[in-house]
Amino acid sequence: MVRDSLVVAGKDLRVEWRSRILTNQVAPFTLLVVVLFGFALDADTATLRDTAAGLYWVAVLLVAVLAVQRSAAVETADDAHQRMLLSGLEPAAIFLGKAAALFVQLLALEVLLGAAVIVLFDVSVGNVALLLCTAVVATAAIAAAGTIYGVLAVGLGVRETLLPILLLPVLAPVLISATRAFGDAFGRVDADGWAWLGLLGSFAIVYIVFGLLAYGVLLEES
């Protein structure tokens, strides 16, 4: 299954590398969101520093919606998802592969977004380990849930319009947990970031296990 997952992940990453949509469209959008947050809060650095964790994860979720839409659209453009069903690959392997590719793309965007937040919002990181662990676990949760809801939206025929409405409420627990953990890592929130990270890990496990079990059924209906 790992081999098949790598084949699928490699294909998705190659598609993104060739299309350059991530670098030429999504990445600039990411930076634009951060700059607009700065404008909206009137460049008040104290406010920006206090809210940086929340703004960061809201921006990540907005970008994640675009990346999930793109990941689903790649499969539906010429009915490749039907070929996936005929390929003989285990649905769980397809899920893991697509989620892994989404994970890599989101992580790359988060690095860019993080650099922008640190520079523009004048944020200092007090606990780098907590920051990195939170980013990895939260991204895994977003990638897993996004892959599930991407194929679900395809099945419902509403991928362009309803995906954010379906996906964002499901990711609300990730937003809350990751924001608290990041707030602690930035030294701006009186919270136990590691405890929030533990909760975040629980969400990630639930999404991943659900995806492994349900992706085949959802793919059948797509």
Binding site: V7, K11, R14, R18, S19, D78, D79, Q82, S87, G88
Partner: protein, 233 residues
Amino acid sequence: MVPAVDLDGVVTLLGRYPALAGISLQVGRGEVVLLQGPNGAGKTTLLRLCAGLLRVESGRGSVLGHDLTADRRPLRRRVGLLGHATGLYDDLTVAENVRFWGRTSRADDAAMRRALDHLGLTSKLHDAPVRRLSAGQRRRTALATLLVRRPELWLLDEPHAALDQHGRDLVDRLIGEAAAAGATVMLASHELERVAGLSRRTVTIAGGLVVGDTGAPGAPVADREPAEVADGA
């Protein structure tokens, strides 16, 4: 021997509409069967059913020995379906598409190269992104992604569509070789004169039912004169 396709009163719904309204059909291993009928008759639905992509609402059906109600997943890896869509990734090259679909079925690089050569996809085209191909080149690439998997049952929906004369000849040869190698081929086509030489059996479908069948079930291509297969090539 278990027939390649064995359908008995199968009903399949598309939405609430019965696209197949109790169809019964037997196709022997190694047969080449032409499906004909007007638009909306159920030819495409029948091919998708035989690929294990659609549910059986009522009736009984099996393909390559796999029950269409309970055993569709293992069936899917043994069939090759070319539908109206090609299932290709526009941003990948021709070679990358064939390599990806080949790897999903454990095909090696040599098999991929053979498939590309067989469909007349020259090395000049290997590195061309699929989005830049003509409709005919795209169709040939899709066939190469099927060929690399060596399916036991070919399900071809208008396989000659968008192809030039050379491409049509390649498809004819592919069908003839697949049948000669023991694979079963079902093809839906409106170009009856074109495909008449490929098959001695024509099944006519209308309203989701078989309304005509010119060939005796179970007559394999191998029983025919070799020239018949070669003529189609």
